[in-house]
Amino acid sequence: MKSEPSFSETPNVSITITQVMAYLFCPRFTYFEECLGIPEHEETRFKVLMGREVHARKVKMNPDYLRKRINVVRKAVSVYLASPELQLRGIVDEVLWLADGTLAPLEYKFAEYRPFVFATHRTQLCLQALLIAEAFRASVMRGYLVYVRSKNFLREVAFRPADFAKARNSVQEVLRIIQTGYFPQQRGTPAQCADCCYRNLCV
C-alpha cells in the first residue's frame, strides 16, 4: 500500500514569512491562528499600525537612494517572492545588489536598536535570503536591519549555515502544525505571554 505523502512533499502549499515569525514567537500562535482560525487582530495594535505607516513611507521616500556605506550598486523595493520548493512566500522590503556580486535582504524594523539580534529577525532575514538566492540565482551571505526608532540605525547580520538550516526547519514545523493540527508546547517567556493576544485561550 502506498503511504500518504508527508507534509513536506505536499505540493502547492506555501506559508508566509510572517507565519514563521509568529511560530517563532510561540508555536501555539500558529495553532490558534491557523488550525483554529482565531484571528490575531494585529491591526488593532498601535505599534503595528505605526510600523505599517513607516513601511509605506519608506517605499515612497527617495526611491533612488543607494546605501554607499555598504556598497550597494542597485536595489529593488517591496519585492514579492515565492518558492514552491521552499513552500514559502513573502515580501522583502529591499533587495540590495552589493558591489561584491552578492545580494542581501534589507528589512525595516519599527523598533529600537538593541545590542543583539532577535532570533525572529535573524530567521526572517534568512528566509528572505533563501527566497532571494533562488529567485535571482545569486549568493546571499548577509542581511541588513534598519532600526527606525534609533535614527535608522543600520545593522549587518552575517548568515551562518546553521541559521539557514534552522530557518528551513521552522518552515517545516509550521507546515506540520497546520497540516496535522497538533497542539504544540508553548515557548513564550512570561513577558511574551503577558503580551500575547491568545493569553486567555492558552492553557
Binding site: 498601535f46 505599534k47 505605526m50 513577558a191 503580551d195
Partner: protein
C-alpha cells in the same frame, strides 16, 4: 510594572487626548495631570508612542516613570489619596 504618567500640556484639546490615551491604556487618574497603573513593557512603550504623536514636543512635557513594587509600598499618601489597591490591579471587581 507600575508606571506614573505626569504631564504638563499647554493646549486643552491635546491634554484631553493624552488623558484619554492614559485611561484607554488602563491606568488610573490620581490627580488632574497624574496617572498611575500597572502596565507591561509593551503597553508602556505603546502609550509613550501614542502620547509622543499627540503632543507638541517643543512646548509640552510628559514623564513616564516606572516604579518597582517595593518602592510603591513605601509611598506615603496624605489628604485625598487614591486607592493603592485599585491602581495596582489588586482589586479585581468593584461592588458598590
Amino acid at each position: 510594572m507600575l508606571v506614573w504618567v505626569v504631564y504638563d500640556i499647554e493646549k486643552n484639546p491635546v491634554r484631553n487626548k493624552v488623558a484619554k490615551a492614559c485611561l484607554n491604556a488602563g491606568i488610573y487618574r490620581v490627580q488632574k495631570s497624574v496617572f498611575l497603573g500597572e502596565l507591561n513593557a509593551t503597553q508602556v512603550d505603546e502609550l509613550a508612542l501614542r502620547i509622543a504623536k499627540l503632543i507638541d514636543e517643543t512646548r509640552d512635557s510628559v514623564y513616564l516613570f516606572p516604579m518597582c513594587k517595593d518602592d510603591f509600598a513605601r509611598v506615603r499618601l496624605l489628604g485625598q489619596a487614591f486607592d493603592k489597591e485599585l491602581v495596582t490591579d489588586e482589586v479585581r471587581a468593584l461592588f458598590l
